[in-house]
Subunit: 379 residues, 2 copies
């Protein structure tokens, strides 16, 4: 695969602000708009890699924060890198750890150097800085490295938001420099910058300008999907997404619900990640075109239909809602496995449908139909 | 498959007391000696049915006690039976519930009629009798029905053991009659009797004689592997197994560890079931030819070798001990999945090796080699 490009993005069709195309990298192609299943601890929870691939995933996400604490980045590197370790040969995007270090760790302390914190696992003390974050991502063998940024609560004042954004831009430059100094890894991988600025148009503009000045392979929209609600997220995307270069992939981090994704694609987003299909699968929620259902509900106890009528996934081809109801109620691992598998297929089928709709210039009709059916049927 | 026999047992080769052959039933053939993975709650825990089959399993076991309480035998019947419900098309043997009702339920009360008890799930009151046990097994669609018997603690006096055995023989006759009255089910399924009598040769003889008088498709050895130790179990098998008809399959219930199985096969046993490969898989124990290993042990943290060198299973083909160590330590579902899969392949490979050794008249050499290596390497 060494004759493949390090990183190339081709747009095959547009429909309004939406685009469909292909990211090409050494370890494989990524069809966009793309959904990346989350593989936090070197595993997409309850799924074998071959089944993740069979669902249609071209790329998965790994969490720097979790992996640096367990099993440890240096250990993963000694074991041949994340791909060999977990048995996933295609591209992996790693986050920078900036989000988790603030939300999961204990006693995080932020300075211009970086963030010192204590592990939520064993209380051990660690530092994450732009340089260390990029080093960890390199040790993991990441294909798409994310710049290290500073997250602040959404309830912060505009001054605090502005200061965190400005610091994140200084850290973005340090991340870029650390990545470029990475030798062979920099020749084979890519790095994305992350736009911050909360819900403020001027801050988002300033952040985008500074990121473009540094220059990245792709650009993420950070700091959304943190509780602001869909309408507010779409309002921000309306101005924030176009600030990022047209010719580069745009990645909306941590999004989201199926109808969030549909709306964000219509606003020019190319890549997504979210724990929702996997986490929901473990708690009994299944996604369907008619809205999510909670399979624990007593009304499913004797339903012989599959989770979703007409779904081509292996789960819907073999098992009834009644069986899944039983498994989930009984706390069986197979319940988590099958629910997760269906949900990942659902998400990937949605992405394939979105790509086809854009290619055929009928995204608005598809989105309207999807939303109406999805929201009308929500249980 | 309706031109297939209801139940036929063919012995292809013998080696000492050991035999290898084939049980043929409507839903498929069972190569003997056979190991039946346990699918307690309509699932072999953490495994898809196709992967259970791929490991080499010809038949699985379902638990009457668990299934009658959740999701309920009548419900399973309305949903098309256990095979359709769980997506396993090959033979299923169901136990009678006699063991679990004494070990798991609350306030069990035994009379000549049967056992009344309260569910360990919700405290609801139930009756299990020979007639109800066979009815539940019929509602589930069981291929091999087990007679309902009475278990007493191994610490009971000989009088108590004798009385329980005699009652179990009366219940065996009632089970046989209930089975024969089952209409179409009796035309397509089989029923096994269960020898009781604890560790006492005279009681075992009396039990075997009464079972032969009633007549069953196969005969189980019950009441062993309940804490008496391997040497004592083998001592009892030496006299108990030959009491059961040569021309019928002999099933040693709830056994066992790999070297238990090797020794029992040498003593004429044809069928086994045990939760050990699946339960161990969920707690971090992996079986290897060099003895079991606990993958949580720190020495595996950076071992790039598979669980067992040379093992042809899908897990050993793709993942290292280091990765499984990480998954199990992190409490990841995939850890339980992969450890279980390897263990089931290990057990089925052992059974295939035993069948080949018997067919080639070299069982003693195989058993000696296996035991020496297995015990020598135990970690």
């Amino acid at each position: 695969m060494t004759d493949r490009p390090r990183f190339a993005f081709r747009i095959d069709a547009t429909d309004g602000a939406a685009r469909t195309g292909l990211v090409s990298m050494r370890r494989g192609d990524i069809r966009t708009p793309a959904f990346m299943p989350v593989g936090t601890a070197a595993t997409v929870k309850a799924m074998k890699p071959a089944d993740v691939r069979a669902s249609g995933a071209d790329i998965i996400l790994g969490n720097t924060y979790h992996l640096m604490l367990r099993p440890g980045a240096e250990r993963v590197e000694r074991l041949g890198g994340l791909h060999a370790f977990m048995g996933w040969e295609r591209p992996v995007l790693t986050d920078s750890g900036g989000y988790q270090v603030m939300s999961l760790s204990e006693l995080a302390r932020v300075t211009e150097e970086g963030v010192t914190f204590r592990s939520h696992l064993d209380g051990s003390k660690h530092l994450l800085s732009p340089e260390r974050s990029v080093e960890v991502q390199r040790l993991l063998g990441s294909d798409i490295v994310m710049a290290f940024d500073q997250l602040v609560p959404t309830t912060s004042t505009r001054d605090v938001q502005a200061a965190a954004m400005e610091r994140s831009m200084r850290w973005a430059k340090r991340s870029r420099d650390a990545f470029d100094g990475g030798g062979a890894h920099a020749e084979a991988a890519a790095i994305f910058g992350i736009q911050q600025g909360a819900l403020d148009e001027a801050l988002r503009r300033a952040s985008a300008d500074q990121l473009r000045e540094i220059g990245f392979d792709g650009y993420a929209v950070g700091g959304l999907a943190v509780g602001e609600g869909q309408a507010e997220m779409f309002r921000v995307l309306n101005f924030a997404a176009p600030m990022l270069p047209d010719e580069r992939p745009r990645y909306l981090m941590g999004v989201g619900k199926p109808d969030d994704i549909v709306g964000a694609v219509a606003r020019g987003i190319d890549m997504f990640d979210c724990v929702l299909p996997t986490r929901s699968g473990r708690t009994g929620q299944a996604f369907t075109r008619d809205g999510p259902i909670n399979i624990r509900n007593a009304r499913f106890a004797e339903e012989e239909e599959p989770l979703e009528a007409g779904c081509p996934c292996p789960v819907c081809g073999s098992w009834s809602r009644a069986y899944l109801h039983h498994l989930v109620r009984a706390g069986e691992i197979l319940g988590a496995m099958l629910m997760t598998e269906h949900n990942l297929f659902f998400y990937q089928r949605l992405m394939a449908d979105l790509r086809a709709a854009i290619a055929e210039g009928r995204l608005k009709a598809f989105a309207d139909d999807f939303r109406e059916r999805y929201r009308g049927g929500a249980a």
